[in-house]
């Protein structure tokens, strides 16, 4: 893993976009510069060539002028012995000799070259003769210098003729050359334009191609980002990345998407785990409750219990123990109700009957200390409520409200109509309830421990939940307490049907 990364980093030398753009620009600039330089070089060469075309003619003209000057100076000297003339002659002769050096002296198979050679040699002969003529003039050898002059004059004519002819011929050649060069120049103008156009097109394609390497990964990255934004995390970015900033961003993006995926998987897993734990806890609680119930149920075989209790009642009657008979009969009725109507919906009347039985049984235990008052609107007692709802409330009043008070213990049950509904109010004169506790009960926040002391497993909490579920509303119960030792009132609101 580490090795491959090292290898990768070795292979991928970072080249920034700036460097790339600089490289592209330099390349294009170099191409254009090179082509332009070459074109300029060519045009320059052509112009130089054109400039040179008539060079040979100019040279021949100079030769002719030089020759004429020599001849005139010689004539002048021979005529007048003028010192200026001899000076001019010598100067021009030197000049002329120098100019002659430009002529071809080799035997070449070109007519003009041969003519140059002939001119060169004739000029040499001519100068030789003129020198001799001047020498003879100085030596006053009249016959000789006249003879020399004649042959010099003759040669002068020939050389001039040669120069003239050569000049003509060269002019013709040069004109052809000039024509050709000029047409070449014209041609090169158009072709250079074409070449420049071509190079521009070439550069355009090069730029497109080279910048594609920069923009393509960006486009790809943008597409990938779009996909991710739409929620597709399962994207596959190309493995070959440019070695520049875009490459780095792409790497980072890739890493981000991968991390995102991993994170989401982890989150899912932990959520699943949590919900599984909650379920287990719930199951455990349910099972515990079931177990408790089963335990209670297993302890008391109802038929056996009732039969036993009935037998006890009969025995009490036979012995004339009326109160005992009464007590046992009540206990039997209470449990029968419990067993029979545990999960059913019952009438308010049946519930109140159960409370009568319960109070009777409890009063036996409390030696009749508990006073139970009923104020019931008989028209309302047929309303339906869930079973085992009033008894737990009364039990709660006894256990938590009035058990430990030394004064007269009083429980009042009233059923009356209120705000278009039935209100079942159970009031005690016990220790009362703190606001805190009321709040806890109402919001079902009682600890498991708080409920443990419920005798038959049906606590106030349970009652509240069942009432709420049954009537499908929240405000079914209200607990009020004026303060410590001021008693507690539990009001149950039953909505009237229709």
């Amino acid at each position: 893993m580490l090795g491959s990364r090292v290898k990768n980093s070795k292979k991928h030398i970072f080249i920034s976009i700036q460097t790339k753009l600089l490289f592209i620009f330099l390349m294009i600039a170099l191409i254009i510069l090179g082509v332009n330089w070459y074109i300029y070089f060519n045009i320059n060469k052509m112009i130089t060539n054109i400039d040179k075309v008539y060079e040979s003619n100019a040279m021949l003209n100079e030769l002719q002028n030089g020759l004429t000057l020599i001849h005139r100076n010689m004539e002048n000297f021979l005529d007048t012995r003028d010192t200026d003339a001899i000076e001019g002659y010598l100067r021009n002769e030197q000049e002329y000799r120098k100019q002659l050096e430009n002529l071809n002296t080799r035997i070449l198979n070109d007519e003009t070259k041969i003519m140059e050679k002939n001119i060169y040699h004739m000029s040499q002969s001519y100068i030789e003769i003129t020198d001799k003529a001047i020498e003879a003039k100085r030596g006053r050898n009249i016959a000789k210098y006249k003879e020399y002059y004649d042959s010099a004059d003759e040669l002068y004519g020939y050389i001039n003729s040669y120069l003239y002819s050569l000049n003509n011929q060269q002019f013709q050649n040069n004109s052809e050359n000039y024509e050709m060069l000029f047409s070449a120049l014209k041609f090169s103008e158009t072709s250079n334009l074409l070449i420049l156009c071509m190079v521009s097109a070439l550069n355009g394609i090069l730029i497109i191609l080279l910048t594609k390497g920069i923009t393509n990964p960006l486009i790809e990255l943008a597409k990938a980002a779009d996909e991710v934004a739409k929620g597709t995390l399962d994207i596959q970015l190309s493995e070959r990345r440019p070695r520049d900033e875009v490459g780095i961003v792409t790497d980072a993006f890739d890493q981000m998407v991968k991390s995102l995926k991993k994170y989401i998987v982890q989150l899912k897993k932990s959520m699943e785990l949590e919900s599984a734990m909650k379920e287990r806890q719930l199951m455990m609680e349910t099972h515990l409750r079931d177990a408790k119930l089963n335990y209670l149920q297993a302890q008391i075989n109802p038929h056996f219990l009732f039969n036993t209790l009935n037998a006890g009642a009969q025995l009490a009657m036979m012995e004339g123990a009326d109160r005992t008979y009464q007590y046992v009969q009540n206990v039997a009725d209470f449990f029968r109700y419990n067993v029979k109507k545990n999960h059913d919906v019952v009438t308010l009347e049946e519930e109140i009957e159960l409370i009568d039985h319960y109070i009777y049984i409890i009063n036996v235990r409390f030696s009749g200390e508990i006073h139970f008052k009923k104020d019931i609107d008989e028209e309302l007692i047929h309303a339906q409520i869930p079973s085992m709802t009033l008894q737990p409330v009364v039990e709660n009043c006894i256990n938590h409200g009035i058990r430990d008070i030394s004064r007269e213990k009083l429980i009042e049950l009233s059923v009356y109509e209120e705000r278009g509904g039935i209100c079942v109010s159970i009031r005690d004169n016990g220790v009362g309830m703190s606001e805190e506790k009321i709040e806890k009960i109402m919001n079902r926040k009682l600890e498991e421990n708080d409920l443990d002391d419920v005798i038959n497993g049906v606590g106030l909490d349970n009652v509240i939940v069942r009432l709420r579920l049954f009537f499908e509303r929240e405000d079914v119960i209200d607990i009020t307490s004026a303060g410590t030792d001021m008693g507690t009132e539990v009001a149950i609101y039953i909505p009237l049907e229709g």
């Binding site: 082509v35 060469k45 052509m46 050569l166 090169s188 994207i235």
Partner: protein
Amino acid sequence: MIKKDPYKTNHRQLAIFAVIILAMAVMTVLSLAYVGKWAEGGGKMNAQPYESFERHYVFIADSEEDIFWDKVYEEAKTYAKEENIYLEWEGSNLAADYSKAELLKIAVASQVDGIVLEGDGSHQIQEAVNEAVDHGIPVVTVMTDSYDSKRQSFVGIGNHNLGREYGRQIIRIANKNTKDALILMDTSMESSGKNLVYNGIRDTLDNEGNHLNLELKTIVLNEDSSFGKEEAIREIFLNKEELPEIIICLNEKDTISAYQAAVDYNLVGQIKILGYSDADTILNAISRNVIAATIVVDAKQVGSYCIKALDEYIETGHVNDFFTMDVNAVTTNNVKGRLKNAGEQGEK
């Protein structure tokens, strides 16, 4: 799920682009090279490599327009080239028209290595030749000699030989009834070798043609004015009473003039022309029986011998005084082969 690897599709695109770029680059480079060559084009003429030679001979002949001399010059030049010698036709490039004597002086002043000269009997030429030789430049005369000059050698047909060949042709075309034959001479006759031609004809007729009663006449054509000779020949044809039966021309121009006059005055068949040189016109005339025969000199042989003679003199210091060239007669019998050759040469 990104559909495709964008780089993968780029491979084909890349290849196409690469091909386009390569093609354009190649085109650009080629056109640049082409333009560059164009730019060089101007210097091409100057850049052409010249052949260098060891010696420089000049060729001086009177009649530049004469096909025979053209041939001799070309043959001599070709031969000279093989010997590493440049042969220049002196005066052909000059605007001025110089006489042979003047051209000789120019050649001397130009310090050439050797001179091939169509000589004549004039005194000026003789002097000019002597001057050249005095300057150490060897001179070889060709076809026509310059008598009594210091020229090193003469390459010619030998006018006596020529005369004999003419004589033979006269005997071939004449019969007992042929009364006369007219020889067209030119002014320089007396001094040049052309009188030897006459003698040659005379001798041949005397020795081999004694069965003929033929009178040999000569007429000297005046060359003073530019077109004098042609007019003089027409004069002969116009004077029908004195019309000769055989007319003998000693050069190409005269031959063509005579032939043309014969055609123009409708005298073909009445007058027999003996011509000189193998110009196409003359050969064609022979094949149509307008000209009876023509005497031909081998230009190649003449050309090469001129160069050979000069070379020999320069290399050894002496050379034969006289080189005799072969003379052939072209008649209707052998004209076909010549015409074919001439045609081929023309095509070349």
